[in-house]
Symmetry: C2
Subunit: 326 residues, 2 copies
């Protein structure tokens, strides 16, 4: 039984509900990553094997580097027209229902199952299966697959291993526990294609993204005795390199990884706004810093949108970080 | 018993020899990495616990990012003056004795133990313990530690996990078998500090190295329908970024990782010569290409030194690769 949070459902309750329903829509969050999509696909494939009707909804298109996952050809940006009234909507990897985006029609709470591993999950479903000690939503789903007695085959194993490798940064982050490594070994033995996951998610960098990284690195600046590193990307840099916004996602982590850097910021000044991504090594609380400028997130990773000039944004974020002890 | 190669010693034979001798010199190869050093340190620490005398020899200094390893303060660039005549020299992670460098005095074969995981190992020792199916020399050493009955504590576990994470590229390469993940989980449970290894070896990038990467990426060129990517680094780029040769090691892998790229080359035109690193995704044999220009290596990774101008080097390597089917 999972007792990590109030109003959480037990494994048995969720398994019983999955058995009871005959139709499902697996919902991924906007800007989908390997965890939201891999978790939904793994459970969706298992439910289809059980003879259930399964659809996939995702507001944004499937990112290029996740199209190798099984069943992604069924992921749609709108709902099927003829959904039965007892359809259960399964939200994967979302702290809140709103992360599904604005285009999903309103769903009654009684038809919502919320599967997640985020500590701050709002428990928005009639059924909530949230295990913050899990490294990914996919490993959370593994408990349900075991409860359902589904055979984990190559397709499902590849989906789950994708969720692990996505949310552990390829086994690099501190959430890579011995149990995570052992589960990954088991998934490989079950046929998970680790080499393809590695190639698609980590190795296969687009040329444009690499050129953009080169430009952003050229613009790196340092302050506070090298503890703070920041850089920016603007419309012109995207145009010159042929990159798009999707290509900027991981660059702030590269800035944070510079020797001696405790806090990093990437200022994304394109599409008519300035969005700022903040990362901390754990000493300075960047969630608190972002909150003072209307943003949010986690202690080590947060973000905000700034209205004003880029130079003003640099100054405002610097002040907010200094106020948190940078 | 290990029977993977002719003239290989068994685990029992090597363990008996380690017990019989009272003095050891652990030898790492030139340009030491986490495997040669971690394997030597792990076995050295174990032998010291058994009351043996242990020294460490390494021609080059300990790289910055490996100084966190236990016992590195004992690694010396010369031999102790008063070595007993029965001292056993333990060479870790070297296909041949010559990889120890030119400054190691001549050692009699009867006093050499060769521990390695490379297929082409020359079996230069009186004792040779070479297991090509192992992902690292450190995991090869694990068999000896088990044979010796040594308790694997936090220090030894950290050394062995460092060898694994070094030689699997942080669990990314195809040599990351389920067994490797399970052994890594076991080493974490024994106290291996995976977070520190990750930070030192993978995350903690020097600013100069990142700036150099940015410059080399700016100079990327593509040919043969995007299947071939090359770039270069010269003395001026090193001076402008503050980087040194050590910082160029992994960049050719970044070039190879570009979408659609099958073969990558990095031309290192500094210190008065042009050294070329080649990487292949497995279709084109870059060892064969390098061999036609006097170089060598492996099917997927090779290198050569070119005498002439940089433009001539570009052309010569292109021709050699085309001859191999690029």
């Amino acid at each position: 039984m999972i007792e990590s949070e109030l109003r959480n459902s037990t494994t048995e309750e969720v398994v019983a509900e999955l058995r009871r329903r005959s139709s499902f829509v697996m919902v991924s969050h906007v800007k989908p990553d390997g965890d939201t999509l891999g978790a939904g696909l793994a459970l969706g494939i298992a439910l289809r094997r059980m003879g259930k009707r399964v659809a996939y909804f995702q507001q944004d298109p499937v990112p290029r580097n996740l199209r190798f996952l099984p069943d992604t050809e069924f992921v749609a940006r709108e709902l099927p027209a003829d959904l039965p009234p007892d359809t259960l909507f399964v939200f994967c990897d979302m702290s809140d229902y709103s992360r599904a985006g604005e285009f999903l029609p309103k769903i009654e709470r009684e038809h919502m199952l919320d599967i997640d591993h985020h500590l701050g999950n709002s428990h928005f479903g009639a059924f909530n299966y949230v295990i913050p000690s899990e490294c990914s939503t996919g490993t959370t789903v593994m408990h349900l697959l075991r409860g359902l007695g589904v055979e984990v085959d190559k397709a499902i194993a590849t989906c789950i291993l994708t969720t692990i490798m996505t949310d552990t940064g390829g086994f690099m982050h501190s959430n890579t526990s011995p149990e995570v490594l052992e589960l990954s070994a088991e998934l490989m033995r079950l046929g998970a294609d680790k080499e393809q996951i590695t190639e698609e998610i980590f190795a296969n960098k687009r040329v444009a993204a690499t050129r953009l990284l080169g430009r952003i690195v050229d613009e790196m600046q340092f302050a506070h005795d090298g503890r703070y590193c920041w850089s920016h990307v603007d419309d012109a840099m995207l145009a010159q390199t042929g990159a798009d916004g999707e290509d900027t996602e991981d660059i702030v982590n590269t800035l944070r990884g510079q020797e001696g850097v405790e806090v990093a910021a990437l200022f994304k000044a394109y599409d008519g706004e300035i969005r700022v991504s903040l990362r901390s090594n754990g000493r300075v609380n960047v969630q608190a810093a972002a909150a003072t400028l209307g943003g949010g997130g986690h202690f080590r990773a947060s973000g905000l949108t700034y209205v004003g000039s880029l130079d003003d944004a640099f100054a405002a974020v610097d002040r907010a970080l200094v106020a948190q002890g940078l």
